[in-house]
């Protein structure tokens, strides 16, 4: 018995090491085999349509002549965060906003070239005093249930939006909405303002007057709109199905029979579903996987210019950050190029202005601040904290990008004697902290949902709105005045002057430190054609068609 045991122990060691080694090395081989080496080989090609898709060009890729659009088919879309509600006045998250935009159409809609174009309306006229806007409606407009769409429906919808808690702020300039006749909507404003952006806002999507006789709850269980699609079924949190609206006003569109949104929050799972052919389209692949996806011959990756900017919100409740020299020191110590390279894997652009290039009146003369450690040290020496200080950086726990950015900035600031402690929170807690101003440095973002700076600027600079400035305890009377003025004029030249002054001042005073702009990235099977995504992010699914 003793003999046998001794042999067994040695055999165990040998076999154990072999088995253990295989266990460790094996998966590595498997992982390497499953994705082609991205560097070198097909890297530059970026699957053809990748190049044409960027720079906000309408989705039909110039490099891929796939012929005339074919009608039919179902688009399976695995989305990272699906809709939470389909009531256009109650939406706040992108998933809901963009889904709602396919169901409910509006008087005007934002386009891919940075403006708004007539949708339900055919155009508009403005009275001499700049207060009365008249919108004639298209002929033959119908809702998805076949009933006629008239001015009374538009009035009901806009009034409802004005009264909503979440989105009413956008309609604050509206004094009255009248249905002059069945086909004419007249909106009177309290002061001259750019109403086109306002009526393009998703919250002003048009529903039937009085919900077509149903109760509000009944209506939103089976919503009726005039957008390209209707909602045919919805298992909340799981799957939402859209069907073609046969009464949609744009001739021939949508091409798709249906769209199925599947909620898949796990990044890896989304990619696997696309690679496995279970879905045709996914959003937001992790930056580290973009290149690997581009290298796959059956897939296409498209990047669309967005209105997204990421920045640091510095709380001036925390004494050191109330000192502009300290903020300048931080601003000059950050290596933005490294951030784009390391956190975004190159899929972004360093930011100068807090506006992104796609926002109206973007000031491109405001260059991104380049890292200069010597200069940063000078700023700090002149400040109230010449010996550095400790500061806390609040981010979403487990978020790879935020963690990388925070670590990078932590290393940057260490060079000038500022010690950063990174604190992880779950998103809900973080939002709460932000609302109450209970943070020191906060990783923040802004995006526009309409081509009108008014949606974001008061929210950013006016503490009364309870937004960015309120959380940062930053009250700049001059900025607030400019922002208010800009919202009360229809003169484009005047708007430009004001919004550029606002950008410049934010750039100088640096209450917020813009880091980078990122595109919206979608990966899809090669069968998906013509995915158009304007900078506001609301996909034009009515343009999409599928090849066999």
């Amino acid at each position: 018995m003793v003999e046998a045991r001794r042999t067994t122990r040695r055999a165990f060691l040998v076999h154990g090491v072999l088995a253990g080694g295989l266990m460790v090395v094996g998966p590595g081989f498997l992982a390497a085999c499953s994705s082609e080496p991205a560097s070198g080989t097909s890297g530059t090609g970026t699957s053809g349509s990748g190049g044409a898709g960027s720079a906000g060009a309408p989705g039909s890729s110039a490099a891929a002549p796939a012929g005339a659009p074919q009608r039919g088919g179902t688009l399976n879309f695995a989305i990272s965060a699906g809709a939470i509600t389909v009531d256009p006045t109650a939406v706040g998250d992108n998933g809901s906003i963009w889904t709602v935009s396919t169901i409910f159409d509006r008087l005007y809609r934002s386009t891919t070239d940075g403006s708004s174009a007539p949708s339900l309306a055919t155009g508009h006229t403005l009275s001499d005093d700049g207060l009365t806007w008249t919108f004639p409606l298209r002929d033959g407009l119908k809702f998805s249930d076949g009933s006629d769409l008239t001015a009374a429906d538009v009035k009901f919808s806009i009034d409802r939006s004005t009264a909503s808690d979440e989105n009413g702020y956008m309609n604050v300039a509206i004094d009255s909405v009248t249905a002059k006749d069945d086909k004419t909507v007249v909106i009177v404003t309290k002061y001259p303002t750019d109403l086109i952006g306002i009526v393009s806002y998703f919250s002003n999507g048009v529903l039937p007057n009085n919900f077509g006789g149903k109760s509000e709850k009944e209506f939103f269980d089976a919503p009726v709109g005039s957008g390209p699609f209707t909602m045919t079924s919805w298992q909340q949190g799981q799957k939402l199905t859209l069907g073609r609206n046969e009464h949609y006003w744009e001739e021939g569109k949508p091409y798709l029979d249906s769209v199925i949104f599947v909620d898949v929050s796990d990044d890896n799972s989304r990619i696997l579903q696309l690679e496995g052919g279970k879905v045709d389209l996914i959003d937001s692949p992790p930056w580290s996987q973009v290149q690997q996806l581009q290298a796959q011959p059956t897939l296409a990756v498209k990047k669309y210019d967005s209105t997204l900017v990421y920045f640091l919100n510095l709380s001036q409740r925390f004494a050191p950050l109330a000192d502009v020299n300290v903020r300048d020191a931080i601003n000059t110590a950050i290596n933005r190029d490294a951030l784009v390279k390391v956190a975004l894997f190159g899929n972004g652009q360093v930011a100068g202005s807090i506006f992104t290039p796609s926002w109206p009146y973007y000031d491109e003369s405001l260059k991104p601040v380049v890292q200069d450690i010597a200069k940063a040290k000078e700023y700090l020496a002149q400040s109230s904290q010449p010996n550095g200080f400790d500061v806390e950086f609040a981010i979403v726990g487990g978020d790879v990008v935020q963690t990388t950015v925070a670590q990078q900035i932590q290393a940057d600031l260490a060079q000038i004697g500022i010690k950063v402690t990174i604190k992880n929170f779950d998103p809900n807690t973080l939002e709460d902290m932000f609302g109450k101003g209970e943070y020191q440095i906060y990783f923040d973002s802004l995006s526009l949902d309409v081509m009108d700076d008014f949606e974001n600027v008061p929210y950013t600079v006016d503490p009364e709105t309870g937004g960015e400035a309120a959380s940062a305890n930053y009250d700049d009377k001059q900025l607030v005045d400019w922002a208010t003025e800009a919202g009360k004029t229809t003169d484009a030249a005047q708007q430009k002057t004001l919004y550029q002054k606002i950008q410049q001042r934010i750039y100088e005073v640096a209450p917020f430190l813009p880091l980078y702009y990122v595109p919206y990235v979608y990966a899809m099977s090669k069968h998906v054609q013509a995915l158009t995504v304007p900078a506001t992010g609301d996909w034009r699914l009515e343009d999409v068609w599928l090849t066999k």
């Binding site: 498997l30 979440e166 599947v262 696997l272 939002e431």
Partner: protein, 333 residues
């Protein structure tokens, strides 16, 4: 494992009362009733935990542009601005009337919501249990029969690795190899129809089972070894009954008791695994619902799920005990 010794002592006294189907049923009901204070304790604990962590569902639902007035109005509408004891009392009263409340986010009653997310999780738990037994029993048998030899060592080593491997990683690896490299299984989702569900749930069940199996193998192996060396096996052998039959008929039956016990004891672990595995395989199950509801601070859903899980674990534990008592007359419910 140790409970059979304790139970044998108890059985002497209670054996007369607990034999037979009716006896067992009454005993089971008694156990469940005894467990009700535990269930209430669970609901109190969950209630406190989820309400006391920072975060506001009203703010989350209304979005970043909502005014403080709007947030306050919604909180009042939902009744979540009242003192905590009062809120809990209302909740308890509702429960007694069979009303589990309404989801803050979905604006629908809780039970139907839980119902719509239930199926994948049930499949996963049952599937994981079945697959782990299917994996563990032959391996444990092999390890026990060739105890000390290479087979035994490898099985034990590999199962150690399985214990340490994180489920999400295992799941992704399985998908990569078995769904992408060779399209043997669907990449994700729950599938349609019975065969669709079976095919879709095999990999997720395997993922969880690979974490469960090491524990089962280790204890089954120990049980089998002990049983193989016990007196009644020696007696059977001396009567001329062959090794394989001996193992299967006698030893396995004994060992199956502990397998069941271990599965039942680890039900809570199984349930917790559904959370990570459902995310990887995009299964619309209770684990997903729980995580999202916690992130959104959807209090009624979190409380509802905690209640459902607590009740399930208790019922399953009682059912396990009944099954054990059927298999082993020494054990009483």
């Amino acid at each position: 494992m140790t409970s059979s010794v304790v139970a044998a002592g108890r059985a002497g006294r209670r054996e007369v009362l607990v034999r037979g189907v009716r006896g067992r049923l009454f005993a089971a009901l008694g156990r469940i009733v005894q467990a009700l204070p535990i269930v209430i304790g669970v609901t109190i604990l969950t209630f406190l935990l989820v309400h006391l962590i920072p975060g506001d569902p009203a703010r989350a639902l209304l979005g970043p542009r909502a005014t403080p007035a709007a947030i306050q109005a919604l909180r009042a509408q939902w009744g979540i601005d009242e003192p905590l004891p009062l809120q809990y009392w209302d909740y308890l009263l509702g429960l007694l009337h069979g009303n589990m409340g309404t989801s803050l986010f979905y604006d629908r009653p809780i039970l139907p919501i839980i119902g719509s997310f239930l199926a994948p999780t049930l499949w996963l738990i049952v599937g994981a249990g079945v697959v782990s037994v299917v994996i563990s029993v032959p391996l444990a048998m092999a390890a026990a029969m060739w105890r000390g030899k290479v087979v035994d060592q490898v099985i034990r080593l590999v199962s150690q690795v399985g214990l340490g491997a994180p489920q999400p990683w295992v799941g992704l690896l399985l998908i990569l190899v078995l769904s992408l490299k060779v399209s043997l299984f669907p990449v994700a989702g729950f599938g349609d129809g019975l065969s669709g569900h079976v095919w879709s749930m095999l990999l997720p069940s395997l993922t969880v089972a690979l974490g469960m199996a090491p524990i089962l193998i280790r204890s089954l192996r120990a049980q089998l070894i002990e049983t193989l060396q016990s007196d009644f096996i020696t007696t059977a052998r001396s009567k001329g009954i062959g090794g394989g039959r001996v193992l299967v008929i006698h030893a396995l039956r004994n060992a199956s008791i502990s397998a069941l016990t271990i599965l039942g004891l680890n039900l809570a672990w199984l349930v917790s695994q559904t959370v990570v595995v459902e995310a990887v395989f995009a299964l619309p199950g209770l684990g997903n619902l729980l995580v999202n509801s916690i992130l959104r601070r959807d209090f009624p859903v979190v409380q509802g799920l905690a209640l459902v899980f607590a009740l399930t674990v208790i019922v399953i534990n009682v059912a396990t005990d009944i099954a054990r008592s059927v298999l082993d007359p020494r054990v009483s419910v």
